[in-house]
Symmetry: C2
Subunit: 218 residues, 2 copies
Protein backbone atom coordinates (compact mmCIF):
# COMPACT_ATOMS: atom_id res chain seq x y z
CA UNK A 1 0.00 0.00 0.00
CA UNK A 2 1.30 3.47 -0.86
CA UNK A 3 2.01 5.65 2.11
CA UNK A 4 0.86 8.94 0.54
CA UNK A 5 -2.13 10.54 2.21
CA UNK A 6 -4.79 13.05 1.17
CA UNK A 7 -6.94 13.01 -1.99
CA UNK A 8 -4.16 11.79 -4.29
CA UNK A 9 -3.37 8.92 -1.92
CA UNK A 10 -7.02 7.91 -1.67
CA UNK A 11 -7.41 8.06 -5.45
CA UNK A 12 -4.30 5.94 -5.85
CA UNK A 13 -5.69 3.39 -3.41
CA UNK A 14 -8.98 3.24 -5.30
CA UNK A 15 -7.11 2.68 -8.57
CA UNK A 16 -5.10 -0.10 -6.97
CA UNK A 17 -8.26 -1.78 -5.70
CA UNK A 18 -9.91 -1.33 -9.10
CA UNK A 19 -6.97 -3.00 -10.87
CA UNK A 20 -7.22 -5.95 -8.47
CA UNK A 21 -10.99 -6.30 -9.07
CA UNK A 22 -10.52 -6.28 -12.85
CA UNK A 23 -7.62 -8.75 -12.65
CA UNK A 24 -9.64 -11.10 -10.44
CA UNK A 25 -12.53 -11.11 -12.95
CA UNK A 26 -10.21 -11.81 -15.88
CA UNK A 27 -8.31 -14.52 -14.00
CA UNK A 28 -11.60 -16.15 -12.98
CA UNK A 29 -12.91 -16.12 -16.55
CA UNK A 30 -9.78 -17.04 -18.51
CA UNK A 31 -7.21 -18.45 -16.08
CA UNK A 32 -4.05 -16.55 -15.09
CA UNK A 33 -1.84 -17.82 -17.91
CA UNK A 34 -4.13 -16.39 -20.64
CA UNK A 35 -4.23 -12.92 -19.04
CA UNK A 36 -1.36 -10.40 -19.37
CA UNK A 37 -0.80 -7.13 -17.52
CA UNK A 38 -1.74 -5.39 -20.81
CA UNK A 39 -5.10 -7.17 -20.78
CA UNK A 40 -5.65 -6.06 -17.20
CA UNK A 41 -4.71 -2.44 -17.97
CA UNK A 42 -7.05 -2.45 -21.00
CA UNK A 43 -9.84 -4.02 -18.93
CA UNK A 44 -9.37 -1.37 -16.24
CA UNK A 45 -9.28 1.44 -18.81
CA UNK A 46 -5.85 2.66 -17.69
CA UNK A 47 -2.44 2.81 -19.35
CA UNK A 48 0.08 -0.02 -18.81
CA UNK A 49 2.33 2.64 -17.25
CA UNK A 50 -0.31 3.43 -14.65
CA UNK A 51 -0.69 -0.28 -13.88
CA UNK A 52 3.09 -0.64 -13.42
CA UNK A 53 3.00 2.27 -11.00
CA UNK A 54 0.87 0.06 -8.72
CA UNK A 55 2.18 -3.43 -9.46
CA UNK A 56 5.56 -4.67 -10.58
CA UNK A 57 4.19 -7.55 -12.65
CA UNK A 58 1.47 -10.22 -12.82
CA UNK A 59 2.95 -12.20 -9.92
CA UNK A 60 2.73 -9.08 -7.78
CA UNK A 61 -0.99 -8.78 -8.64
CA UNK A 62 -1.60 -12.45 -7.80
CA UNK A 63 0.17 -12.02 -4.45
CA UNK A 64 -1.97 -8.97 -3.65
CA UNK A 65 -5.11 -10.96 -4.50
CA UNK A 66 -4.07 -13.78 -2.16
CA UNK A 67 -3.53 -11.19 0.58
CA UNK A 68 -7.04 -9.79 -0.04
CA UNK A 69 -8.55 -13.28 -0.02
CA UNK A 70 -6.77 -14.20 3.21
CA UNK A 71 -7.71 -10.96 4.97
CA UNK A 72 -11.38 -11.39 4.01
CA UNK A 73 -11.52 -14.68 5.94
CA UNK A 74 -9.42 -13.65 8.93
CA UNK A 75 -10.75 -13.03 12.47
CA UNK A 76 -13.76 -15.29 12.04
CA UNK A 77 -12.80 -18.21 14.22
CA UNK A 78 -12.60 -16.77 17.73
CA UNK A 79 -14.52 -19.19 19.96
CA UNK A 80 -16.61 -17.66 22.73
CA UNK A 81 -18.00 -18.93 26.03
CA UNK A 82 -21.47 -19.08 24.44
CA UNK A 83 -21.93 -22.53 22.84
CA UNK A 84 -24.90 -21.52 20.66
CA UNK A 85 -22.97 -18.55 19.36
CA UNK A 86 -20.05 -20.79 18.40
CA UNK A 87 -22.31 -22.98 16.28
CA UNK A 88 -23.82 -19.87 14.66
CA UNK A 89 -20.25 -18.77 13.86
CA UNK A 90 -19.52 -22.18 12.39
CA UNK A 91 -22.53 -22.03 10.08
CA UNK A 92 -21.86 -18.45 8.99
CA UNK A 93 -18.23 -19.22 8.31
CA UNK A 94 -19.08 -22.20 6.15
CA UNK A 95 -21.36 -20.02 4.03
CA UNK A 96 -18.78 -17.22 3.86
CA UNK A 97 -16.12 -19.72 2.83
CA UNK A 98 -18.23 -20.90 -0.06
CA UNK A 99 -18.81 -17.32 -1.26
CA UNK A 100 -15.20 -16.24 -0.96
CA UNK A 101 -13.87 -19.35 -2.66
CA UNK A 102 -16.19 -18.50 -5.54
CA UNK A 103 -15.04 -14.87 -5.70
CA UNK A 104 -11.38 -16.01 -5.82
CA UNK A 105 -12.01 -19.21 -7.75
CA UNK A 106 -9.02 -18.71 -10.07
CA UNK A 107 -6.84 -19.08 -7.00
CA UNK A 108 -8.60 -22.24 -5.79
CA UNK A 109 -8.22 -23.77 -9.24
CA UNK A 110 -4.63 -22.81 -9.90
CA UNK A 111 -3.02 -22.61 -6.47
CA UNK A 112 -0.73 -25.61 -7.04
CA UNK A 113 0.64 -24.30 -10.30
CA UNK A 114 0.90 -20.74 -8.96
CA UNK A 115 2.90 -21.56 -5.83
CA UNK A 116 5.21 -23.76 -7.90
CA UNK A 117 6.44 -20.74 -9.88
CA UNK A 118 6.43 -18.20 -7.04
CA UNK A 119 8.18 -19.11 -3.77
CA UNK A 120 6.93 -15.92 -2.07
CA UNK A 121 3.35 -16.91 -2.87
CA UNK A 122 4.05 -20.42 -1.59
CA UNK A 123 5.29 -19.02 1.70
CA UNK A 124 2.18 -16.85 2.15
CA UNK A 125 -0.09 -19.76 1.32
CA UNK A 126 1.68 -22.11 3.76
CA UNK A 127 1.48 -19.50 6.47
CA UNK A 128 -2.24 -18.96 5.87
CA UNK A 129 -2.91 -22.68 5.87
CA UNK A 130 -1.01 -23.30 9.10
CA UNK A 131 -2.73 -20.40 10.85
CA UNK A 132 -6.17 -21.41 9.58
CA UNK A 133 -5.85 -25.07 10.61
CA UNK A 134 -4.60 -23.86 14.00
CA UNK A 135 -7.76 -21.75 14.29
CA UNK A 136 -9.97 -24.71 13.38
CA UNK A 137 -8.28 -26.90 15.96
CA UNK A 138 -8.69 -24.26 18.72
CA UNK A 139 -12.31 -23.81 17.70
CA UNK A 140 -12.90 -27.58 17.74
CA UNK A 141 -11.29 -27.88 21.18
CA UNK A 142 -13.61 -25.19 22.52
CA UNK A 143 -16.63 -27.06 21.09
CA UNK A 144 -15.28 -30.22 22.75
CA UNK A 145 -14.93 -28.44 26.10
CA UNK A 146 -18.53 -27.25 25.75
CA UNK A 147 -19.81 -30.80 25.18
CA UNK A 148 -20.75 -30.06 21.55
CA UNK A 149 -18.09 -32.10 19.79
CA UNK A 150 -16.36 -35.43 20.41
CA UNK A 151 -12.79 -35.76 19.08
CA UNK A 152 -12.10 -38.63 16.64
CA UNK A 153 -11.11 -41.92 18.28
CA UNK A 154 -7.31 -42.29 18.56
CA UNK A 155 -5.12 -42.35 16.53
CA UNK A 156 -7.47 -39.80 14.89
CA UNK A 157 -7.26 -36.23 16.22
CA UNK A 158 -9.14 -32.94 15.92
CA UNK A 159 -6.21 -31.85 13.76
CA UNK A 160 -6.96 -34.71 11.31
CA UNK A 161 -10.59 -33.66 11.22
CA UNK A 162 -9.55 -30.04 10.57
CA UNK A 163 -7.29 -31.08 7.68
CA UNK A 164 -9.96 -33.38 6.19
CA UNK A 165 -12.47 -30.51 6.30
CA UNK A 166 -9.92 -28.13 4.76
CA UNK A 167 -9.39 -30.62 1.89
CA UNK A 168 -13.13 -30.97 1.25
CA UNK A 169 -13.63 -27.20 1.34
CA UNK A 170 -10.64 -26.38 -0.85
CA UNK A 171 -11.32 -29.24 -3.23
CA UNK A 172 -14.96 -28.64 -3.97
CA UNK A 173 -14.77 -25.71 -6.41
CA UNK A 174 -11.89 -27.01 -8.50
CA UNK A 175 -13.65 -30.35 -8.61
CA UNK A 176 -16.92 -28.77 -9.75
CA UNK A 177 -14.95 -26.98 -12.40
CA UNK A 178 -13.98 -30.32 -13.92
CA UNK A 179 -17.03 -32.47 -13.36
CA UNK A 180 -20.12 -30.23 -13.52
CA UNK A 181 -21.30 -26.70 -14.12
CA UNK A 182 -19.15 -24.53 -11.83
CA UNK A 183 -21.44 -21.50 -12.26
CA UNK A 184 -24.54 -23.20 -10.82
CA UNK A 185 -25.05 -21.63 -7.36
CA UNK A 186 -26.82 -24.74 -6.05
CA UNK A 187 -23.80 -26.82 -6.98
CA UNK A 188 -21.45 -24.30 -5.38
CA UNK A 189 -23.51 -24.34 -2.17
CA UNK A 190 -23.24 -28.15 -1.95
CA UNK A 191 -19.67 -27.68 -0.70
CA UNK A 192 -21.15 -26.84 2.69
CA UNK A 193 -23.18 -30.08 2.73
CA UNK A 194 -20.04 -32.07 2.00
CA UNK A 195 -18.16 -30.42 4.86
CA UNK A 196 -21.10 -31.18 7.16
CA UNK A 197 -21.06 -34.87 6.16
CA UNK A 198 -17.53 -35.06 7.61
CA UNK A 199 -18.20 -32.83 10.62
CA UNK A 200 -21.70 -33.79 11.83
CA UNK A 201 -20.87 -37.29 13.13
CA UNK A 202 -18.40 -35.70 15.54
CA UNK A 203 -21.04 -33.42 17.04
CA UNK A 204 -22.68 -34.70 20.20
CA UNK A 205 -26.49 -34.89 20.39
CA UNK A 206 -26.37 -31.52 22.14
CA UNK A 207 -24.12 -30.13 19.39
CA UNK A 208 -26.36 -31.41 16.60
CA UNK A 209 -29.47 -29.93 18.22
CA UNK A 210 -27.75 -26.59 18.72
CA UNK A 211 -26.65 -26.58 15.06
CA UNK A 212 -30.22 -27.35 13.92
CA UNK A 213 -31.53 -24.49 16.08
CA UNK A 214 -29.04 -22.14 14.47
CA UNK A 215 -29.99 -23.35 10.97
CA UNK A 216 -33.68 -22.74 11.65
CA UNK A 217 -33.09 -19.26 13.02
CA UNK A 218 -30.92 -18.31 10.01
CA UNK B 1 -2.26 -49.61 -29.02
CA UNK B 2 -0.72 -50.82 -32.29
CA UNK B 3 -2.46 -53.77 -33.88
CA UNK B 4 0.69 -55.44 -35.22
CA UNK B 5 1.51 -58.81 -33.75
CA UNK B 6 4.65 -60.94 -33.45
CA UNK B 7 8.09 -59.86 -32.18
CA UNK B 8 8.03 -56.44 -33.85
CA UNK B 9 4.62 -55.69 -32.32
CA UNK B 10 5.77 -56.76 -28.85
CA UNK B 11 8.91 -54.68 -29.16
CA UNK B 12 6.83 -51.71 -30.25
CA UNK B 13 4.55 -52.16 -27.26
CA UNK B 14 7.52 -52.29 -24.89
CA UNK B 15 8.92 -49.09 -26.42
CA UNK B 16 5.53 -47.41 -26.00
CA UNK B 17 5.35 -48.47 -22.35
CA UNK B 18 8.97 -47.34 -21.82
CA UNK B 19 8.20 -43.88 -23.25
CA UNK B 20 5.23 -43.58 -20.88
CA UNK B 21 7.35 -44.57 -17.85
CA UNK B 22 10.05 -42.03 -18.73
CA UNK B 23 7.45 -39.30 -19.38
CA UNK B 24 5.72 -40.02 -16.06
CA UNK B 25 9.03 -39.68 -14.17
CA UNK B 26 9.89 -36.40 -15.90
CA UNK B 27 6.38 -34.99 -15.39
CA UNK B 28 6.49 -35.97 -11.71
CA UNK B 29 9.87 -34.33 -11.21
CA UNK B 30 9.49 -31.16 -13.27
CA UNK B 31 5.78 -30.65 -14.06
CA UNK B 32 4.32 -31.18 -17.54
CA UNK B 33 4.88 -27.63 -18.79
CA UNK B 34 8.67 -27.83 -18.31
CA UNK B 35 8.97 -31.15 -20.19
CA UNK B 36 8.91 -31.34 -24.03
CA UNK B 37 8.60 -34.41 -26.27
CA UNK B 38 12.29 -33.87 -27.07
CA UNK B 39 13.15 -34.16 -23.38
CA UNK B 40 11.12 -37.36 -23.19
CA UNK B 41 12.81 -38.84 -26.29
CA UNK B 42 16.24 -37.94 -24.89
CA UNK B 43 15.32 -39.41 -21.48
CA UNK B 44 14.15 -42.62 -23.16
CA UNK B 45 17.27 -42.79 -25.34
CA UNK B 46 15.29 -42.83 -28.57
CA UNK B 47 14.99 -40.41 -31.52
CA UNK B 48 12.18 -37.83 -31.57
CA UNK B 49 10.99 -39.57 -34.78
CA UNK B 50 10.62 -42.85 -32.93
CA UNK B 51 8.63 -41.08 -30.19
CA UNK B 52 6.32 -39.54 -32.79
CA UNK B 53 5.77 -42.98 -34.24
CA UNK B 54 4.09 -43.88 -30.91
CA UNK B 55 2.55 -40.58 -29.82
CA UNK B 56 1.26 -37.63 -31.79
CA UNK B 57 2.29 -35.04 -29.19
CA UNK B 58 2.60 -34.36 -25.46
CA UNK B 59 -1.18 -34.25 -24.95
CA UNK B 60 -1.40 -37.71 -26.46
CA UNK B 61 1.17 -38.96 -23.92
CA UNK B 62 -0.73 -37.36 -21.02
CA UNK B 63 -3.98 -38.98 -22.19
CA UNK B 64 -2.26 -42.38 -22.38
CA UNK B 65 -0.94 -41.89 -18.82
CA UNK B 66 -4.44 -41.08 -17.52
CA UNK B 67 -5.71 -44.26 -19.23
CA UNK B 68 -2.94 -46.27 -17.49
CA UNK B 69 -3.70 -44.66 -14.14
CA UNK B 70 -7.43 -45.34 -14.48
CA UNK B 71 -6.96 -48.95 -15.56
CA UNK B 72 -4.64 -49.63 -12.63
CA UNK B 73 -7.46 -48.77 -10.19
CA UNK B 74 -10.32 -50.43 -12.04
CA UNK B 75 -12.13 -53.63 -10.96
CA UNK B 76 -11.32 -53.16 -7.29
CA UNK B 77 -14.68 -52.21 -5.90
CA UNK B 78 -16.87 -55.25 -6.49
CA UNK B 79 -18.69 -55.88 -3.18
CA UNK B 80 -19.15 -59.52 -2.17
CA UNK B 81 -21.56 -61.36 0.12
CA UNK B 82 -18.72 -61.73 2.67
CA UNK B 83 -18.76 -58.68 4.99
CA UNK B 84 -15.21 -59.23 6.32
CA UNK B 85 -13.89 -59.55 2.80
CA UNK B 86 -15.51 -56.23 1.85
CA UNK B 87 -13.72 -54.43 4.67
CA UNK B 88 -10.44 -56.09 3.65
CA UNK B 89 -11.09 -54.79 0.12
CA UNK B 90 -11.74 -51.32 1.52
CA UNK B 91 -8.46 -51.27 3.41
CA UNK B 92 -6.43 -52.63 0.50
CA UNK B 93 -7.99 -50.14 -1.88
CA UNK B 94 -7.16 -47.20 0.37
CA UNK B 95 -3.52 -48.29 0.46
CA UNK B 96 -3.46 -48.90 -3.31
CA UNK B 97 -4.99 -45.48 -3.90
CA UNK B 98 -2.27 -43.80 -1.92
CA UNK B 99 0.46 -45.63 -3.89
CA UNK B 100 -1.05 -44.98 -7.31
CA UNK B 101 -1.71 -41.31 -6.59
CA UNK B 102 1.98 -41.06 -5.73
CA UNK B 103 3.08 -42.83 -8.92
CA UNK B 104 0.95 -40.46 -11.02
CA UNK B 105 1.38 -37.43 -8.79
CA UNK B 106 1.95 -35.03 -11.70
CA UNK B 107 -1.62 -35.78 -12.73
CA UNK B 108 -3.05 -35.22 -9.24
CA UNK B 109 -1.23 -31.90 -9.02
CA UNK B 110 -2.04 -30.60 -12.48
CA UNK B 111 -5.36 -32.19 -13.38
CA UNK B 112 -7.32 -28.91 -13.32
CA UNK B 113 -4.92 -27.12 -15.62
CA UNK B 114 -4.54 -30.18 -17.88
CA UNK B 115 -8.26 -30.74 -18.48
CA UNK B 116 -8.72 -27.04 -19.15
CA UNK B 117 -6.51 -27.22 -22.25
CA UNK B 118 -7.59 -30.67 -23.46
CA UNK B 119 -11.34 -31.37 -23.78
CA UNK B 120 -10.70 -35.04 -24.63
CA UNK B 121 -8.77 -35.43 -21.36
CA UNK B 122 -11.57 -33.65 -19.51
CA UNK B 123 -14.13 -36.10 -20.92
CA UNK B 124 -12.06 -39.12 -19.84
CA UNK B 125 -11.55 -37.68 -16.38
CA UNK B 126 -15.26 -36.94 -15.92
CA UNK B 127 -16.16 -40.41 -17.06
CA UNK B 128 -13.68 -41.97 -14.63
CA UNK B 129 -14.94 -39.84 -11.76
CA UNK B 130 -18.61 -40.66 -12.42
CA UNK B 131 -17.88 -44.38 -12.70
CA UNK B 132 -15.68 -44.38 -9.59
CA UNK B 133 -18.17 -42.52 -7.39
CA UNK B 134 -20.88 -44.89 -8.67
CA UNK B 135 -18.68 -47.80 -7.53
CA UNK B 136 -18.15 -46.23 -4.09
CA UNK B 137 -21.88 -45.70 -3.65
CA UNK B 138 -22.69 -49.31 -4.65
CA UNK B 139 -19.98 -50.53 -2.28
CA UNK B 140 -21.33 -48.34 0.53
CA UNK B 141 -24.87 -49.61 -0.05
CA UNK B 142 -23.63 -53.18 0.21
CA UNK B 143 -21.88 -52.36 3.51
CA UNK B 144 -25.13 -50.75 4.69
CA UNK B 145 -27.14 -53.88 3.74
CA UNK B 146 -24.62 -55.97 5.71
CA UNK B 147 -25.07 -53.83 8.83
CA UNK B 148 -21.51 -52.45 8.62
CA UNK B 149 -22.31 -48.88 7.63
CA UNK B 150 -25.03 -46.38 8.47
CA UNK B 151 -25.86 -43.79 5.78
CA UNK B 152 -25.54 -40.09 6.72
CA UNK B 153 -28.69 -38.56 8.25
CA UNK B 154 -30.87 -36.86 5.59
CA UNK B 155 -30.40 -34.61 3.70
CA UNK B 156 -26.92 -36.25 3.66
CA UNK B 157 -26.53 -39.33 1.45
CA UNK B 158 -24.01 -42.09 0.79
CA UNK B 159 -23.28 -40.21 -2.42
CA UNK B 160 -22.25 -37.11 -0.39
CA UNK B 161 -20.00 -39.30 1.73
CA UNK B 162 -18.46 -40.81 -1.44
CA UNK B 163 -17.78 -37.34 -2.89
CA UNK B 164 -16.32 -36.04 0.40
CA UNK B 165 -13.99 -39.05 0.53
CA UNK B 166 -13.02 -38.54 -3.12
CA UNK B 167 -12.13 -34.91 -2.33
CA UNK B 168 -9.99 -35.87 0.66
CA UNK B 169 -8.24 -38.59 -1.32
CA UNK B 170 -7.64 -36.48 -4.42
CA UNK B 171 -6.71 -33.42 -2.40
CA UNK B 172 -4.12 -34.89 -0.08
CA UNK B 173 -1.10 -35.19 -2.40
CA UNK B 174 -1.44 -31.80 -4.07
CA UNK B 175 -1.91 -30.31 -0.63
CA UNK B 176 1.19 -32.02 0.71
CA UNK B 177 3.06 -30.68 -2.26
CA UNK B 178 2.35 -27.13 -1.09
CA UNK B 179 2.46 -27.39 2.67
CA UNK B 180 5.01 -30.05 3.60
CA UNK B 181 7.54 -32.50 2.21
CA UNK B 182 5.67 -34.42 -0.50
CA UNK B 183 8.38 -37.09 -0.69
CA UNK B 184 8.06 -38.19 2.93
CA UNK B 185 6.32 -41.62 2.79
CA UNK B 186 4.85 -41.15 6.29
CA UNK B 187 3.21 -37.93 5.16
CA UNK B 188 1.94 -39.59 1.98
CA UNK B 189 0.43 -42.45 4.00
CA UNK B 190 -1.48 -39.99 6.22
CA UNK B 191 -3.96 -39.56 3.34
CA UNK B 192 -5.48 -42.88 4.40
CA UNK B 193 -5.92 -41.64 8.01
CA UNK B 194 -7.72 -38.55 6.75
CA UNK B 195 -10.10 -40.62 4.65
CA UNK B 196 -10.77 -42.83 7.69
CA UNK B 197 -11.60 -39.78 9.84
CA UNK B 198 -14.49 -39.06 7.44
CA UNK B 199 -15.53 -42.70 6.97
CA UNK B 200 -15.18 -44.32 10.40
CA UNK B 201 -18.07 -42.50 12.15
CA UNK B 202 -20.42 -43.99 9.56
CA UNK B 203 -19.33 -47.54 10.35
CA UNK B 204 -21.53 -49.40 12.83
CA UNK B 205 -19.93 -51.01 15.90
CA UNK B 206 -19.90 -54.25 13.91
CA UNK B 207 -18.28 -52.47 10.95
CA UNK B 208 -15.59 -50.86 13.11
CA UNK B 209 -14.73 -54.17 14.80
CA UNK B 210 -14.52 -55.92 11.44
CA UNK B 211 -12.23 -53.17 10.11
CA UNK B 212 -9.98 -53.46 13.18
CA UNK B 213 -9.79 -57.24 12.68
CA UNK B 214 -8.76 -56.72 9.07
CA UNK B 215 -6.14 -54.14 10.10
CA UNK B 216 -4.62 -56.54 12.66
CA UNK B 217 -4.49 -59.43 10.17
CA UNK B 218 -2.91 -57.21 7.47
Amino acid sequence: MNSRTGTAGRKSELTRKWILDVARGLFNDHGTSAVSTNHIAAGAGISPGNLYYHFENKKDIIRALLAEYTTAYEDRWAPTADAGENLATLRENLAAWSELAWAYRFFEREVLALVRVDPALRDSYRETYARRVGQYVAFGEQLEAQGLLRAPAPPGTIHDLAVAIWLIGQGWLPFLDVTADPRDPRQVARGTDLVLVALTPYLTTKGRRALEDVAQRG
